[in-house]
């Protein structure tokens, strides 16, 4: 009973990091280009969709790009996340079109209330998966440094 608890992943000692401003700057440029492309390629892109995609990209730039990790990996994750976001939007749009025949206020309210939840599913899921990729990288690098 006297031993240490160690049945989970070892916790990494926290060394305060310095944000990678260069990666943030590159991320900002990429996000601007991506949002511009969204509007060019998807003519039906509306304000709620822009809010969701914009929110995701903003979070990515401020909370993922400054972290430790290769720029290429972050870029791939950003593009992947945006692809998921667009697919998600298209699925929502098809549902919206399918239910347009109903066109009732009640249905619109349901959509309105459910929208943040629906967006939550993809934004948080993509972000947390990306974060786990960067955390794995950080652990790997720290182990390499130790060895």
């Amino acid at each position: 009973m006297g031993g240490l608890v160690a049945s989970k992943e070892d916790r990494v000692d926290h060394l305060r990091m310095r944000p990678n401003f260069f990666h943030m700057a590159v991320g900002s440029v990429l996000v601007t280009v991506i949002i511009f492309l969204h509007f060019q390629l998807i003519p039906t892109f509306d304000l709620p969709a822009l809010v969701a995609i914009g929110f995701f990209n903003l979070l990515f730039v401020f909370l993922l790009f400054p972290l430790e990790g290769p720029l290429l990996r972050k870029t791939v994750l950003l593009i992947g996340g945006n692809t998921v976001g667009v697919l998600w939007y298209l699925i929502q749009l098809s549902f919206k079109e399918a239910f347009l025949v109903l066109n009732t206020d009640a249905f619109k309210i349901i959509v309105l209330i459910a929208k943040p939840l629906i967006d939550f599913v993809w934004i948080v899921a993509v972000w947390s998966l990306s974060l786990s990729v960067l955390a794995s990288y950080r652990i790997k690098m720290e182990r390499l440094e130790k060895s």
């Binding site: 009973m1 049945s7 990494v12 939550f120 947390s128």
Partner: protein, 415 residues
């Protein structure tokens, strides 16, 4: 608009905490056990009501603490247990002279932790008093790490970090572990670094005996006696320090029913504290502006899920009224309010960054599932508020203390 502003304030607060935990650099308090020269006599209080499954584990750990035993005193408060808690504690007391057991009569005891702690307070002789719940399992050198903070005379209390021991047991324990990561690794850490209101969690922490005596102990009417004490300490002009590397493992609730019960007590207790301390915090001369703002937000934190519901209802109402011209401006607030309520992803990112800082990559995958606890907390907080209002109307002052049952499953994860 006020609702949107309030929820936005929480959003900013979460991001501020997250970024602080990631990047803020400030001199941390002395916490190295090897450098500690300040070694006052300390007392550890362990309140225990029907904890036969876990009491031996923590008492065994107390015997393994590295703090000099001649300066250590452990007081087990057997709070009218009907199982073998008292007998097991007595056995330890027989073998170790620094362990003492205080038995409470069933006629008076078993009515909650604050009462048990008040009883224990009469028996302690240490200059610094620590509290550990019976299901906890601290690091061996935790007392040294925590005690080092008391070198500063302004520090009235200190708080260590809580980590879940039985994390792999179920989905609930894993989600609780995530919540704890965000709560301690990011929230508490950032509050400490930014000089805001660091919360005393009621366990894995300690305070000066002189201070707790000055404050006349714990209020038995409060369900969140820890939050109540936190604000009383700050209002008295003292600070609370958080020591991130003073780790202690807890046995988290293992199923949704226990989760509901525990969080209901927390929500009710926190709301009680909000009603009690909100004005004293605003008008206090001992608090700086930033502490007042953080204190205000902290006191109202259990109302946030209710704000989310309110945002939904208002959103739907605004939607119906949309054709009215002057409402168009308000209509614009709807997406904003949504994105700052359920769409308020900030707490989830806070948890994610906590896990990242701990190097816990796989647990990040579970973050989206925290939506379940968020939704559950909406119900819990709504019910808590209704219960409190009902108690006010009926004049009921005392609330029933719902004890969290610990079955000792955490022991399986100790090598």
């Amino acid at each position: 608009m006020a609702l949107v502003a309030l929820i936005t304030a929480y959003l900013i607060r979460h991001y501020l905490f997250t970024l602080t935990a990631l990047y803020h650099k400030k001199e941390t308090p002395p916490s190295s056990s090897n450098k500690t020269v300040y070694e006052p006599k300390v007392s550890v209080m362990i309140p225990a009501h029907n904890e036969e499954q876990v009491i031996e584990r923590i008492l065994q750990r107390m015997t393994e603490l590295t703090y000099p035993k001649e300066k250590l005193e452990v007081i087990v408060i057997d709070d009218a247990s009907t199982d073998k808690t008292g007998e097991k504690a007595k056995l330890f007391a027989k073998n170790y002279s620094f362990i003492h057991v205080v038995h409470r009569d069933p006629a008076y005891g078993g009515r909650g932790k604050p009462e048990a702690l008040n009883r224990g307070l009469k028996h302690v002789s240490g200059e610094i008093i620590y509290c550990f719940d019976a299901d906890y399992y601290p690091q061996r050198d935790i007392i040294e790490k925590l005690t080092a903070c008391f070198i500063d005379p302004k520090v009235g209390a200190v708080q260590g970090r809580v980590t879940v021991l039985n994390e792999p047991h179920s989905l609930v324990t894993r989600l609780v572990a995530l919540e704890r990561t965000g709560g301690y690794r990011v929230d508490q850490f950032a509050r400490n670094e930014l000089g805001l209101i660091t919360q005393f969690g009621g366990t894995v922490g300690g305070f000066r005996r002189s201070l707790i005596e000055q404050l006349r102990g714990w209020d038995p009417d409060m369900l969140a006696e820890d939050t109540d004490l936190t604000f009383r300490i700050y209002l008295a002009g003292f600070k609370i320090k958080y020591v991130n590397d003073a780790d202690c493992y807890e046995e988290a609730v293992e199923n949704w029913r226990s989760y509901w019960r525990q969080r209901s007590r927390w929500a009710k207790g926190h709301m009680q504290c909000a009603f009690r301390h909100i004005w004293p915090v605003i008008w206090s001369k001992n608090l700086r502006l930033r502490e007042k703002v953080d204190g205000f937000l902290l006191l109202n934190i259990y109302f946030v899920p209710l704000f989310a519901v309110l945002a939904w209802i208002l959103g739907a109402a605004l939607f119906l009224l949309q054709p009215l011209g002057w409402m168009n401006l308000l209509w614009m607030a709807v997406p904003i309010s949504f994105y700052s309520s359920v769409g308020n992803f900030a707490p989830f990112f806070e948890v994610g960054i906590g896990a990242y800082l701990d190097g816990r990559n796989r647990i990040c995958w579970l973050i989206p599932l925290l939506l379940l606890t968020f939704m559950l907390n909406i119900l819990i907080c709504t019910k808590a508020l209704i219960d409190l209002c009902f108690s006010k109307i009926t004049g009921k002052k005392r609330h029933k203390w719902t004890k969290t049952v610990h079955n000792g499953n955490g022991s399986h994860y100790i090598k």
